[in-house]
Symmetry: D2
Subunit: 370 residues, 4 copies
């Protein structure tokens, strides 16, 4: 059987991240056949050729449809701007290819729904790039919750904060246009929901507020323009399990660079985590002598699969890019028909619906069910 | 002029804390006359006498009315269970005494309103024991916000979590009875609101959710009883300043012992704080070279008044009880007619109204203005 | 029986700290009779009178010998500059008084030896103010070591760092004169040795290095003067138990304000501590499932006596000054003939001898036994 | 010109790490030609073939001499056990190949010296795998020291601790045999010295102590065997710059997994770092208002080259393996004749000599110069 053929569309932030993963998945895991990097697509043809050389792809193109049609391409990595996800994913699925699409699924609920329809029709693998769920630390949290270590979860809090929109003096950009979405709610919210999903389960109802730290932003040509998105969103959640939840999102949070802070409270203990320290998890359990109880800082280690595939020594640390390598391994598992730890288009659509319900709850000032 | 005469009602957790403050305020501050500890009241007469000896009070009684009537008592510390605050405070005010009452003001909004009426009529000092606002670290935060170091505040988050209700197997207690209040909302919420008040300003509207981690609790006699309060509360806030806010309260949060975590986001920086590390504050400012920006951990020091009155060396640390000594000094300031850093009954009533509005917002599922 | 009569010499940093402790010991502990604050001594008579009023002492004086001779003074708190400790302590002991003397014992080994001779002759209590050992967190560490939780200790590291000598531009002061001692070695080393003593045991041999971050310092009148002390000291230790140790001392350590960082390594676990976060201790034990092992942050709580005497709720935090209240309670225990957790003059002398041996090891460039 | 041809000897911990780096260096950096992975060597021929497939090497062999002789191999990665470094490196150098050898250089000073002779004779690049110095956080520290941000360095402390030898019940292994070296001194010390070298400069004199936490260890066959190495080492240092230093090494430190804790004290500030949190650096500077000074936690970001080549967003985090990719890029720079941030065999020999001097200082109980 020939090696799995890979087509990659996009060579930016996430494009490079996919490329690194496709190069590393076989050396890291050792239990998969080294895929064939068949074709790379980038809008600029010269850049496509250059990146193909760097990334190790055999061919390059500026025509994404050609990539999808390429007979050696079995799986398509889609890392283009969100607005292109739907058409590319649907085309690839229609061509019978597997699809690995960056999150969020699409820029409209209708597009996301169409993507799911296409995925169901194709019967191939259609997975989303929710990489944070791949962290061995998060998987440890997932296991500790699943095995009852902290008891039934009754409350969860997720904060996601960065500061790329924090500078009031920064020029008005597309991130402040309504066309880009709601703002922090979709930009960050989808990550929060992906983590809640794998750790605890489904969100049933939501009540959101949104805010604009800066009403307007300067234009390059002088003057200002009113900001149309909301860089801050806060959400109250009720989960199907009965747990209560809270999500706080802020992309104008000075000093926060990649914070995704989780707190999961259970009847027997608590788990805390911060993506800025992604190789640690904090666990408190109400076991044993009460005078020596405390939050324990667990460093990820070979005991926390698949950390062991990267490094045989504990506490040495994985990086953000390496989560995508793990995700890639899961994708290969799914393609091989094995159970995989991935969010597919069905799970992704549920996340998009949660975002949509949150936006409605804000407009209408009342709880909204998903 | 004779020394200020002190009457103290209650010798429990907060009663002892007041007693320590009354003993220490002159030695620590040195700029106030040592007050006369005139009379101590405790329901059990023998215990009252014993504690009077320990605490250094000249006389003791089991009759709180006698204490209020005592001619040498100029100021009354009220540290009894919340249900007694109103009648004692009103009686003391009517007798022309100053009142230093532990928070929360009362167990009903009507009582709190009556207390304010009495305070206005008396014209004496009527102050509440919101001790967390006295921390030099919090005062530093207050100054950094006031002087524009972090720019206009656009978002605030406050979490208050402890675990004294976290044990699902603990017997049903009065804390789970509706008569005790809403649960975490009033038990913890008043602290959160006091901090928001001094740091940022007034809450204008609130939308709350409340949850019960355990639907029922065991009874000593066997069987169980349905829990009537909510150990978890989550609140979305809109402040008069236009800032958005969020409060999360959990008294069943395993592992959290005295957590009051603040995050205040401004247009030029961020402040973070956790009461469990009450001698530190974290400050991020967007000044200077971006490649060396980071949250700085500032340890409280003599530069942060009135830390200097306690210890001449930085980073040596104050304790929880010492906040009450600072509060006591502020009370003396108020009694002397000087500007004081205290929450009076008017500010306290606003906090009670915020709690009440939150409870209504939960029942009605919609935003409620204060 | 009349109350214990207290005489306090000195009203500076430690004088105030003792005064606060004498005021608070009965209210906090409740199981001791409130001492009588008989007489306060300060070199300036007017200041002595003023402080006596603030601190609650009945009388004041500028003559320390009068204080020692005062018939109502049973115990003498000595908080004067180190050079005066010996004569005052010896005089008080000769007068049959109990002595509570701030560390270090004296400025020469001969003086310290004379103090011990006097203490033995007097038969009264002669205790030193090594307050850090009184922290409930340190006592917890002590218990965890004693009960074998971390197994036999094989290695210990103590760092003590502050930055009061860090400013190279600060004027030459007495701290840089040879008459003040060795520098960091005695200024800080005594604290390190007191902690090693109570946690692990005796130091048997030492090998030290010392360094001057700044060779000279400016004089107010212009020009500079050569620094005679060493603001940095580093020590290798061998303990009687066979454990190896290391002490690092730096009083010119920018950013460190009250750091005393301990790491105690045992055959079954590790304990870590930092005085700048004095209400926490970190414990790692090699028990249970290895994939959930980690350093746990234990917040001090009522379970860690005598924290419970201060606050009935966990994680609320004691302050530096409150350690002296605990020490005062131990002193009262010793005076009552009960076992007490204190370092007496015998233990203190051993610490002074360790400092002396370290200084010799530095001069001679070889290991020195104590 | 053809692509650089790579030969890799060894496929264990570090072999895999090199393989990942060779696969990723072109995709990550984009400014280098993708190297040709020519030949892989592993003692077991079948394993060699399997790993070659996974790692993307064109050919495989069990004969390392064949690999060195391979005409397409321009550079040889040596990742075998330390005892083989010398003969392989010397052979490769004699064949005119570039050498990238894992640290430490060799198991004897004589071997290391011979390696340097061979490197000088060959004139090719001979670099060592001191990967920790490649961390953007460490490079930031290096720059902050070099540009005077913390002023002249006067004191440095380095701790390196792991717990792989902490279990007293673990069977006697080769790590406890004298043939493996001194113990922690060489196992960990070389890392400490590499960091001191790039951050501050040369070590001039050393005084070491070494200790055995466990005198003997159990044998599989029953009974015990005396431990010949020292799992603990502590060192006092004097640097050529006049700074004082301290190194503490413990490979039986329960709970420490990959700790390399640095503290660098200067006349104007302090830098602190812990490898367990490798994406952070702490900086204190004595600039600006003293009441807002504190250690700031700087998260690595695109501003800290070459972080930007991996991730365009700050605070997202690199992993341990990615340091080797950076090292690989530096190696390519050196091969291209450009200035490179690498420790070559000359620097490596100095490190070996420091280890040797430390061992002598321990045996002789006195300071030893390097």
């Amino acid at each position: 059987m020939r090696a799995l053929g890979v087509g990659l569309i996009g060579t930016g932030y996430m494009g490079k991240c996919h490329a690194l993963a496709w190069n590393a998945v076989a050396p890291v895991f050792g239990d998969v056949r080294r895929p064939k990097l068949a074709m790379l697509c980038e809008v600029d043809e010269a850049l496509a050729a250059q990146r193909a050389g760097e990334f190790g792809f055999a061919e390059s193109t500026a025509d994404w449809k050609a990539l999808i049609a390429h007979p050696e391409v079995d799986v398509v990595s889609i890392t283009t701007p969100n607005a292109f996800h739907a058409q590319m994913a649907i085309a690839a699925l229609k061509a019978g290819k597997h699809v690995w699409c960056e999150k969020p699924m699409a820029t409209s609920l209708a597009d996301a729904e169409a993507m799911l329809v296409a995925a169901k029709a194709a019967g191939t693998v259609a997975a989303l790039g929710y990489n944070y769920i791949q962290n061995p630390a998060i998987r440890l949290a997932q296991r500790l919750i699943a095995d009852g270590t902290i008891g039934p979860v009754n409350h969860v809090r997720v904060e996601m904060d960065e500061d790329f929109m924090a500078d009031a003096g920064a020029l008005f950009s597309w991130k402040s246009e309504a066309a880009s979405g709601h703002g922090a709610l979709d930009d960050f919210g989808v990550h929060a929901f992906s983590l809640i999903k794998v750790l605890i389960g489904e969100v049933e109802a939501v009540m959101a507020d949104m805010a604009r730290p800066y009403a307007e932003r300067p234009l390059a040509a002088g003057g200002t323009r009113a900001v149309e998105t909301h860089d801050i969103a806060t959400l109250l959640l009720r989960l199907s399990s009965g747990a209560s939840g809270l999500v706080a999102l802020n992309r104008s949070a000075w000093g926060r660079k990649g914070r995704i802070a989780l707190q999961v409270f259970g009847a027997k203990g608590t788990i805390a985590y911060d993506q800025e320290r992604m190789n640690e998890i904090e666990l408190y359990t109400a076991d044993g002598d009460s005078d020596v109880q405390g939050f324990r800082r667990i460093l990820t280690a070979p005991a926390h699969a698949p950390y062991d595939r990267f490094i045989p020594a504990p506490g040495h640390g994985l990086g953000f890019n390496e989560l995508k390598i793990i995700e890639c391994r899961e994708l290969l598992r799914a393609i091989a028909g094995e159970p995989a730890h991935l969010l597919d288009f069905e799970a992704g659509l549920r996340i998009e619906r949660t975002v949509d319900a949150a936006a409605r709850s804000f407009r209408e000032g009342r709880w909204t069910t998903i």
